[in-house]
């Protein structure tokens, strides 16, 4: 049983802009996920989706400290990372709708969203598959001396696979400008962390590579942002990689919203984590500290709602791919 991280006593300082920025990133993710989750249930979106609801603070806190020249790689649960990195909702929805206006022209779908213009180097349906690729993106920055940093997102379960280990070691040996962000949501599919590793704190694995390991409250976007900032700055200074473990939780099932065929999670556990909802948390902070008003927050929800509806409309009205093009883009010619 995983228990939610405690609210940290130490107050992370924040400005109004930071709070608004993080809040908007998280709300965009939340509403994108809730909407697309429903659209897959109605069959309007084909295939299946791994939703990011609950974990928004992680992608948002990290995304907030990156520029479009920084690169990320993502996972099967990648919508949140893309949106936090600045992806637009129209081509996001269009991709799920398998339309030509989607980020992958309908070729990739949920698990392969990409946005090269924003340094989103792609989601990945192979657990651990994106990690070495992020190392390569970091290598490119070091090689060019362009000051860019790469971030690789992956789950607790992914830290057991070989690609994680090889990548972390190589990045450390070469002082590559990369941050490894493990989103520890306590489960690999339906297998709880205590059944897939002997550690409680995955950050300890950093020691194997001689890099710093940092634990952060993954429900607190401000805390994530601060940890990410430090790691990213360290990377930019050429001091090498960091492993950040964000303790977090997914509110929905492994796939879709309500799959739980077998109740592998205790409902009390789910509720306990939901009570630390990252969006409510930042709203509380924003209001309590007098940085943002409740109405302003509501305004963001409303704006995002409009963006969601616009994105879905756009996707619905976009054209299907043409089977005649099926062999396009296999090769660069």
């Amino acid at each position: 049983m995983t228990t939610p991280t405690e609210a940290i006593d130490e107050v992370v300082p924040a400005t109004r802009d930071v709070v608004l920025d993080l809040h908007r990133r998280m709300v965009r993710i939340r509403r994108f996920e809730e909407s697309s989750g429903k659209l897959v249930e109605t069959g309007e979106i084909p295939g299946f989706l791994h939703l990011y609801v609950g974990q928004e603070a992680v992608a948002s806190g990290v995304g907030a400290v990156l520029t479009d020249d920084d690169q990320i790689t993502s996972t099967h649960r990648g919508h949140g990372h893309a949106i936090a990195k600045g992806a637009e909702l129209r081509p996001m929805f269009a991709e799920l709708y398998a339309k030509t206006t989607g980020y992958c022209k309908g070729r990739g779908g949920s698990m392969h969203i990409v946005d090269m213009s924003r340094g989103m180097l792609g989601a990945n349906a192979i657990v651990g598959g994106g990690i070495p690729i992020a190392v390569g993106a970091a290598f490119a920055s070091q090689y060019r001396g362009d000051g860019g940093v790469a971030v690789s997102f992956f789950g607790d379960g992914a830290t057991n696979i070989g690609a994680f280990h090889e990548s972390a070691n190589m990045a450390a040996v070469w002082d590559l400008p990369i941050v490894f962000v493990v989103e520890n949501n306590g489960y690999a599919e339906f297998t709880s962390q205590e059944r897939h590793m002997r550690l409680v704190d995955i950050a300890e694995r950093a020691a194997s590579y001689g890099m710093p390991g940092v634990i952060v409250d993954g429900m607190d976007a401000l805390a994530v942002r601060e940890a990410a900032l430090e790691a990213v700055e360290r990377a930019r200074r050429g001091e090498g990689p960091t492993l950040i473990e964000a303790k977090t939780y997914r509110f929905f099932d492994h796939q879709g919203i309500k799959g739980m065929r077998i109740p592998y999670r205790d409902p009390a556990e789910v509720e306990a984590w939901k009570s630390r909802d990252a969006i409510r948390l930042i709203e509380t902070i924003g209001i309590e500290r007098g940085l943002v008003s409740a109405e302003e927050f509501e305004g963001i929800w409303a704006e995002v709602e409009a963006e969601i509806n616009d994105g879905i409309e756009f996707a619905r009205n976009s054209p299907d791919p043409d089977p005649a093009d099926i062999l396009d883009d296999v090769y660069t010619v």
């Binding site: 084909p46 295939g47 309908g106 779908g109 070989g162 690999a188 077998i262 791919p321 062999l327």
Partner: protein
């Protein structure tokens, strides 16, 4: 033998239950195979029946999953190691082809490796390029391995039992889109040995060799063709390694025309090997070139409209047979 209708996945599941009940050396490991019963329900109920000692969830670590199976098999157990999606073969390939498959030969026969790998392949679920592949051609190219692709509930049960009883490393590739397909399945435990093709329908005009789910599509095509007076002999090789060339060649010698159908991309697919063997062994009997129908040379696309165009279906099989018959 009492038979009744079961789905493909239930038939497979029944085979697992019965062989585990029969042989205490059989155990199952893999990601979410125990508590959850496998993401495709393949392993439902096994944990409850056989307990944690014999049915185990693993970390996400396919090299260790397969490698554990190799080591345990070399010591005489009969591991079943699940590789959830066939597409994940790439992270475990070394253990499959350099270790499991070669151990006996490299070691001069000193050891057998009765390991069974289960996995699910095939497209048609909008699961995109990394969750939809058919990679049997890779596995069939590895001396020491055996590879089956059940195309009916009857075969799903019989082949998993045959695989587990086989003293060699075997891979049983279920087809994700066939999980709910129904068919008659005997209640008793039975095994289908590898290397015995199934002549699904007998016919005189043309031979169709279909692999995995394509057998279902080919049968539909054969029925349609039958109504038009074209008699199709449909052959399901069941295992692509070993391949029952004998049955296929005998059929071609009778029909003089043959089409091979699979889901994998055509270039370098198992169809190439089947085609080559046919023309090597039945050259003088061929009235038309051995024909292949398979996926175009592209990764599997996500969009249903593209994916439907990508995977062969009954209509395209029928059209391909017609073209074959028209060839002089």
């Amino acid at each position: 033998m009492t038979t009744r209708e079961l789905t493909y996945v239930k038939a497979f599941n029944e085979g697992m239950h019965q062989i585990m009940a029969e042989d205490p050396d059989v155990f199952l490991i893999g990601e979410d195979v125990a508590g959850y019963g496998g993401v495709f329900h393949m392993f439902d109920g096994l944990l409850a029946e056989f307990g944690e000692r014999r049915v185990k969830d693993t970390p996400i670590a396919e090299q260790a999953i397969i490698g554990l199976g190799v080591g345990a098999a070399a010591r005489g157990l009969r591991p079943v190691c699940d590789l959830m999606f066939m597409d994940f073969v790439g992270v475990a390939m070394d253990q499959i082809f350099n270790q499991a498959a070669k151990m006996k030969y490299m070691f001069g026969g000193a050891v057998s490796v009765p390991l069974t790998i289960t996995t699910a392949g095939g497209a048609g679920m909008s699961a995109a390029a990394q969750h939809s592949q058919s990679l049997e051609a890779w596995l069939a190219h590895v001396p020491g391995l055996k590879v089956a692709m059940p195309a009916s509930p009857y075969d799903a049960k019989g082949l998993i039992v045959g695989a587990i009883r086989d003293d060699n490393p075997t891979i049983v590739v279920l087809n994700k889109k066939m999980l709910g397909v129904k068919g008659e399945v005997p209640e008793e435990l039975y095994a289908i040995p590898f290397g015995q093709a199934n002549v699904v329908t007998e016919g005189d005009d043309v031979t169709v060799v279909a692999i995995g789910r394509m057998v279902v599509e080919a049968r539909k095509a054969a029925e349609a063709l039958d109504k038009q007076g074209v008699s199709v002999e449909l052959i399901d090789p069941r295992s692509v390694q070993p391949l029952d060339t004998e049955t296929i060649v005998a059929s071609v010698k009778k029909t003089n025309r043959v089409l091979i159908v699979h889901e994998a991309v055509e270039f370098g697919g198992i169809g190439a090997e089947i085609s080559s063997q046919i023309q090597e062994q039945a050259f003088d009997y061929l009235d038309a070139p051995v024909a292949r129908l398979a996926a175009p040379f592209a990764p599997v696309p996500y969009a249903p409209v593209l994916e439907n165009a990508y995977v062969p279906d009954a209509a395209r099989i029928e059209a391909a047979v017609r073209r074959l018959l028209e060839r002089r």
